[in-house]
Amino acid sequence: MILDYFVSIIIYSLIYILIVTSLNLAYGFTGLVNLGHMAFFGIGAYVSALLTIHGVPWYIAMILAGAIASILGTIMAAITVRLKGDYFQVVTLGLVFMAIAISRNWISLTRGALGLPGVPSIISNKFYYMVFVFVICAVCVFIINLIVKSKTGRIFQAIRDDETAAAILGKNTYFYKVLSILISTFFAGIAGSLFVHYINFVDPTIFDLEFFVLMLSFLIIGGVASIKGTIISVFVLESVYESLRFIQISPEIIGALRVMIFMGMLLVILIIRPKGMFGKVVI
């Protein structure tokens, strides 16, 4: 029993690392503060759930989850990356609400608020599924790390620091910004697929902003544009957050208290280290 609990924390942590690292590619490395990132995670989850429920093998479903999230992400980016700073953030945030509205109301496809139960597991043994998730996430994070270190990654970072300067050095900044979102949303879709095959259920609450705020906290505490920071911050903070479950206190207030303690911790960390634990970058 207790082992199952640890396994589940590790599975969640690994998936969170993939979500946050894919967000980091756009947010930390390209300067595109995509507040709609979780929409693509949710789309990946829905795509993978629907396909496997209808008998499509999981590996095809997983790739399509990434691909469809990425196609929609690219379309979104092609339209919105010309917007500056705040405007881009507001529009991408709007996407989340669109995703919620669609998933709630397209009942013939998503069953609305009832959600889709019975999403098949890829591997029923939890321990082996953890190993599987570890392998997939490790490969994905490794690929993102390679991209960041490549010539393309350098252009992403240059755009983050000064887009005009990147343009006058002959770089097509529009193309690279769209490319960054294309890659970022692909991995968000993959993470969605891994997630849905673990909890075997998906409903519109997957798009909830609370979830995104947690991911954003991991990113900022670890330090934007630091992949190492993300990995460490997810493991540390997730264990702390989980262990807060066990404080001996009346059950009515424990939920709220847990969130308050967690957020208080984040505040303290950010006052002491404004760039996060491993961050060097100011956006």
Partner: protein, 227 residues
């Protein structure tokens, strides 16, 4: 090599640039001077593609470039710096330079030496002083393949020592026969280094000519000092 013909740009009701026509000859240093608000930087932004002109043509080596996106204009051979330095602040000196060109370590060291920036190349740009960032920006502009170099007030806001170094750099560029278009407020410097001076006022070319002629021109003095 660069010729502007009746270039115009309005911002709201203001004619920022108004039928601006001039040429930059190959192998010369041309200075753009004029009082504040004369439209110098707007002209720079139009040439480099950051601002779209409303009218007029701009030819670079015979090729029309007006209205092209900035990155294409850069690829056709215009390299520039900014009045307020634009380095990639979270990136190292090395990565800043690599954005201009896939240069070898040797090339990078040479260009840094030529602009008197003596810092380890893995130093993050934000750790440099403002003057040093300016030198890095110039090094980056030099490294990018170009036929025309445009410098927007290179000596503004830097300490006297770096200002002196910048003058030496420009004199060296002149000796090497580079084509440079320059915005500058330091008159002694402009007169010292330029082959041609263009005076802008209210978005128009007021006068152009050799530095000595410009110095004595009544209209130019009026534009600067009032009647």
């Amino acid at each position: 090599m660069l010729s502007l013909n009746k270039v115009a740009k309005r911002f709201g009701g203001v004619n920022a640039v108004n039928k601006c026509t001039f040429n930059v000859e190959e192998g010369t240093i041309t200075s753009l001077i004029g009082p504040n608000g004369a439209g110098k930087t707007t002209v720079f932004n139009i040439i480099s593609g950051l601002t779209k002109p409303d009218a007029g043509t701009i030819k670079l080596n015979g090729k029309e470039i007006a209205g092209l996106p900035a990155y294409k204009i850069a690829q056709s051979g215009i390299s520039r710096t900014f009045q307020l330095t634009k380095v990639f602040r979270n990136m190292s000196i090395k990565d800043n330079l690599l954005m201009a060109k896939e240069a070898s370590e040797k090339e990078m060291e040479d260009v840094l030496k030529s602009v008197y920036l003596h810092k380890p190349i893995d130093t993050t740009a934000s750790e440099l002083s403002y003057g040093q960032q300016r030198l890095l920006e110039i090094a980056r502009a030099l490294l990018m393949e170009h036929s025309l170099l445009m410098l927007d007030e290179p000596t503004a806001g830097v300490n006297p020592r770096i200002r002196q170094e910048l003058k030496i750099i420009l004199k060296k560029l002149r000796k090497e026969g580079k084509t440079v278009l320059l915005i500058e407020h330091d008159m002694d410097f402009v007169m010292d280094i330029s082959d041609k001076v263009i005076v802008l006022a209210e978005g128009r070319v007021l006068r152009e000519g050799k530095p000595k002629e410009i110095m004595k021109d009544k209209k130019v003095l009026e534009a600067y000092l009032g009647k």
